[in-house]
């Protein structure tokens, strides 16, 4: 326990010092890792701890991104004020989808498919109605001042992403310690047994998806402020849903560090294929190559290592 604490303190110190000494390119990679770990943790709360596999978490991410962006562009809100509003919107969408789906008794694959359909419905709506500027997407006016949640120096996005990641880790850590987390694991392992023990299965699942929706929406606003542009495919597209699922499944669903580990691994794979592509010109199309590796990893991990890479890590640690 003490050694784990020391290791964590060292990792945190390294993460804080890194952008001060590393080249700008690594800072950008760092932002991506912590951002992915953050939205991955959102998936992990409902998909990992509570065992409700979702194929449509982009519905929450996109709700957050669009809420804060519309509040800014159409209603002239300050971005920092729009952020909590986006989080609330994500929580509400999570709550509504949970109430509808779990009331109907959807589990397993059926729940995964209905979340996919919700995300798709939101994508089509965002693509067709005028207050989202339809398929054109929304461009946030660049005005890089910290008061606007825009930074000239990417290092601030790095520290913000790091802070978000730490918050998400603390939430997951809390879940492994308190009764709410224990109830969720009970629901995941055996709903009927959990119900027999007096757990209100429906209420716990609704709480988990509401929390998960809030976190994903916070990630959506962060994304919109970082890139200053969103469109229906970026915000609600199936790619984002799959990304959130992948980092968690690869790293280890239902573990505290799974999403972070998965984000590190997938970003590492992405950078490695990019490097490979710069050497081998025939592979100039990088994106599909890394996605192929992700897909193979997903298949192998689900089939052979259901607890993800975190399990591997634990074993090594225990033996050392």
């Amino acid at each position: 326990m003490r050694r784990q604490g020391l290791l964590l303190a060292l990792a945190l110190a390294a993460a804080i010092v890194l952008p001060l000494v590393a080249p700008g390119y690594l800072v950008e990679v760092g932002v991506l890792v912590f951002f992915l770990a953050f939205i991955g943790q959102s998936w992990n709360i409902s998909g990992g701890f509570a065992g409700q596999t979702s194929f449509g978490h982009a519905v929450f991410f996109g709700t957050g991104a669009y809420t804060s962006t519309i509040l800014q562009i159409t209603f002239g809100w300050n971005a920092w004020l729009a952020w909590p509003a986006a989080v609330v919107a994500g929580a509400i969408v999570g709550w509504i989808i949970a109430i509808l789906s779990f009331r109907a008794g959807l589990r397993g694959s059926y729940f995964a498919l209905i979340t996919l359909a919700f995300a798709e419905a939101f994508r089509i709506l965002a693509n067709s109605v005028s207050f989202t500027h339809a398929g054109l997407g929304m461009l946030i006016k660049a005005d890089p001042r910290p008061a606007n949640f825009q930074f000239r120096d990417p290092i601030w996005f790095y520290y913000l992403a790091l802070a978000l990641c730490i918050v998400s880790l603390l939430i997951a850590w809390q879940l492994t310690r308190d009764r709410f987390g224990a109830r969720l694991v009970g629901v995941r392992e055996n709903e009927d047994a959990a119900r027999a023990l007096g757990i209100d299965v429906f209420a716990e699942k609704v709480k988990a998806l509401t929390l998960s929706g809030a976190i994903a929406a916070a990630g959506g606003t962060f994304y919109a402020q970082k890139y200053l542009y969103i469109d229906p495919n970026i915000a609600f597209g199936v790619d984002k849903s799959i990304e959130m699922l992948l980092v968690t499944m690869v790293g280890g669903a239902g573990t505290i560090f799974g999403p972070l580990l998965g984000a590190l691994t997938l970003t590492g794979v992405n950078e490695a294929t990019r490097a490979l592509a710069s050497i081998v010109p025939a592979l100039k199309n990088v994106q599909p190559l890394s996605l192929i590796v992700y897909g193979v990893m997903l298949i192998l991990i689900v089939g052979r290592l259901p607890d993800g890479l975190a399990r591997l890590f634990h074993r090594v640690q225990r033996h050392a």
């Binding site: 109907a104 959807l106 498919l113 919700f118 798709e120 190559l289 193979v296 298949i299 689900v302 089939g303």
Partner: protein
Amino acid sequence: MLDPGILFAGVLNGLMAGGIYVLVAVGLTLIYGVLHIINFAHGSLLMLAMYAVFFLWRLSGLDPYAALPIVIGAAFAFGYLLYRLVIGRLSHGRDENILLITLGVSIVIDNVALLLFGGNTQTVETPYASSFVQLGDAFLPLPKIISFVASLLICALLGLFLARSDTGKAIRAVARERQGARLVGIDVDNIFALSYGIGIACLGAAACLLMPTYYVTPSSGHAFVLVAFTIVVLGGMGSFAGAAVGGLIIGVVESLGGLVLGEQLGQIGISAIFILILLLKPSGLFGVRQ
């Protein structure tokens, strides 16, 4: 409001598209009925079969309809092996795991296609592509009519095969009662792989029937995956008749949705039906209540 002539043409066009959806959905529902797994790779495998049709035409000039036996055979072999080598081996335990494995398979297939074939839209040119048949006020493309008839014919043949042949009886026995089938000496694992192969063979047939009027890109699978699931859920998971009726309904809904709500918003009909059916009547129109 809409002119009745346009409405009539819209319904007919929807039915024609629905005919091919039936074939896609029958494959999905067969796999679900026998293996009790949701094959998320269905759309990607259809895309792959469409590329097979395209390359057969491009490299040897083979007409898509003439390619039917080749592509059906190849799709069956591919599905059979995919089940034997990947899905069956890794699919122990919970159904979400199988869903995730087939998701992984679809990610790999989509991106291998993108890497090898590029992102361009590919089409097959046939001499009959621009022939039309007049039906009342509506003009229908000849290949759509051929595809519609062929699709329903293939479904009927498959139904006959399942009803009459020994293999078909074994498949139905496994779908009904897995343990019992094993006890009377049916090789259940082999039936699983066969059923998966037949499900994918349906996609091979659908690809041949689609290509004369449709195009293929590496993301074509996405367009079909939600449609196929909606049909199967609407008809009732595992129900053959349900897939047939559901396919035609969804074809018409899609066509009329585009007419009434416009190109963009019209697509929402599929998602809306899917969500409503799952929430209100998850067993579908013809499904058995679990």
